[in-house]
């Protein structure tokens, strides 16, 4: 059944690749504009073995994973801790909405000015891209805890800290994991934009540079590595979810 599902999942991709290869082979213009799966594959293998894409992948993965981890941990801690004070939660709500509505592209140049052109500004961009979603999602999780269960703990004389550790924190995990999954694409976007604006290495930089040189196979090869990075993060989150038995327990 699993093999059948995998074949079915890969089927549309296979059709797409065949059609793409066929279309590009029709004339040179098509090949120049759209490259072809075989050329993309060659470029990918060639640049991985030359070490160019390995280095770019490592830099971008480093920026994304560190920013993703810091942004989510800090965001979730802030969001969950808002449960302790309804007043602070209410006061901070419009600020979170305002900050969340700013396009990340608009902030990127300032981040470069404030934190320099090095890796730190890229990590900060990833943190900024993920932290607000982590705050709002984890606070929603904390807010949506069953009130009757909170009353049950109160009836036993539980302190706020006990209610938080025994009920709020574990029951918000489902929301926290949803925010992690949502944040994968935002983290990649944050790092990509930062590299796009100012960098001399990384997949975002590689895409910008190779598209300037009309090296479409390398552009697509770099995009494939970004997608691979997204799958990698998704897989890691899935593994932690499985380890914590989240889906089974919240069923």
């Amino acid at each position: 059944m699993k093999i059948k599902n995998t074949i079915l999942t890969l089927f549309p991709l296979a059709i797409f690749l065949v059609l793409w290869e066929f279309y590009s082979s029709l004339d040179d213009k098509n090949m120049f504009l759209f490259a072809s799966p075989s050329r993309v594959f060659n470029s990918l293998v060639e640049n991985i073995f030359s070490g160019l894409l390995i280095k770019d992948f490592y830099i971008t993965a480093y920026e994304i994973i560190s920013g993703f981890v810091i942004g989510n941990i800090v965001g979730c801690l802030l969001g969950l801790s808002l449960w302790f004070s309804k007043t602070i939660a209410e006061i901070s709500r419009p600020y979170v909405i305002a900050l969340g509505s700013i396009p990340i592209f608009a902030i990127a140049p300032m981040m470069i000015i404030w934190f320099g052109t090095g890796i730190f500004s890229k990590i900060m961009m990833v943190i900024l891209s993920t932290i607000l979603i982590a705050i709002t999602q984890s606070y929603e999780g904390a807010k949506n805890v069953n009130v009757e269960q909170v009353n049950l703990l109160k009836s036993f004389g539980a302190s706020n800290n006990q209610i938080f550790t025994k009920l709020i924190l574990p029951s918000s995990l489902l929301w926290v994991f949803n925010s992690l999954r949502l944040n994968i694409s935002f983290a990649i976007l944050g790092a990509f934009i930062a590299e796009f604006i100012s960098a001399n290495e990384g997949l975002g930089y590689r895409i910008l540079k190779s598209s300037g040189l009309y090296d479409i196979p390398l552009v697509i090869a770099s995009i494939i590595l970004l997608i691979f990075l997204a799958f990698l993060l998704n897989g890691m989150i899935g593994l932690i979810e499985k380890k914590l038995n989240i889906i089974e327990i919240y069923r």
């Binding site: 269960q149 036993f156 025994k166 009920l167 029951s171 038995n245």
Partner: protein, 250 residues
């Protein structure tokens, strides 16, 4: 006296419509006493329990409680925590009072055996039946060192055989541990079986109809024998008369 309710009036305000649940309700509850609230749906039994538990503070009148009184509350819903297994759910109250010890764990194991769910100790709530969940919630409520135990329809999903056995065990347990217990139930027989006093409620907003004292020695508390005695049917009639509108205290 452990609790004294004086002139308690409770009104619900829903979109400018005021619904009076009961008014000027007076009741004293003594230490180590087991009492039951019986009455029709919506007469305010659970509301009164919430007031006593300090969950509902929106009422008129006064509630006096002995200082430092510890309370355990079993709500109508089992409210088991899904990521804790049955044993860890049962130990929740004890954990909150920072009293988890080898002794409390042994006591929990003993209660799981007495409640006939010892094979479910490691099971998560999603795999327990409604009755099994209620039993775990009941263990969670009686395990802590609380002085006052509030039980809102504790036996509602439990099978008849288990109920009869649990009545006898729990009555002995509460008396031995010197607990004060308030039980909300719809079942008159259950109330008579388990209580020293049955507080009978009239439909909303009339409040208490009458108080029936169950004067039977602890030694004669065997549920099956007691149910066959003339005393039992006499108590039953006294409660039932109130439901029929006879002997109402106005």
């Amino acid at each position: 006296m452990i609790i004294k309710l004086s002139n308690i009036t409770k009104t619900y305000n829903h979109s400018e419509i005021k619904t009076k649940v009961f008014s000027s309700l007076n009741l004293s509850i003594e230490e180590n006493e087991i009492i039951s609230f019986v009455g029709p749906n919506g007469c305010g039994k659970s509301t009164l329990l919430n007031i006593i538990a300090n969950i509902d503070n929106n009422y008129d009148g006064s509630l006096e409680k002995s200082s430092e009184i510890k309370t355990s509350y079993m709500f109508q819903k089992d409210l088991l925590i899904p990521w804790r297994n049955a044993l860890n759910n049962a130990l929740l109250g004890v954990e909150i009072e920072n009293n988890v010890s080898k002794l409390t764990k042994e006591m929990a194991d003993k209660l799981f055996v007495k409640f006939m769910i010892d094979s479910k100790v490691q099971s998560f709530p999603s795999s327990l039946s409604g009755g099994e969940k209620k039993k775990v919630a009941l263990i969670r409520t009686i395990l802590p060192s609380s002085d006052l135990i509030l039980l809102d329809e504790p036996f509602s999903a439990i099978d008849f055989q288990s109920k009869i056995m649990l009545y006898d065990y729990l009555y002995g347990y509460f008396k031995k541990k010197r607990k004060t217990v308030i039980i909300v139930t719809h079942d008159i027989e259950e109330a008579i079986n388990l209580s020293n006093r049955v507080i009978v409620f009239n439909p909303r907003p009339e409040g208490i109809c009458k108080i029936v004292n169950i004067d039977i020695s602890d030694n004669d508390r065997n549920s099956v024998k007691f149910r066959n005695s003339p005393d039992f049917s006499n108590y039953f009639t006294q409660v039932w008369d109130c439901f029929n509108g006879i002997n109402r205290i106005k």
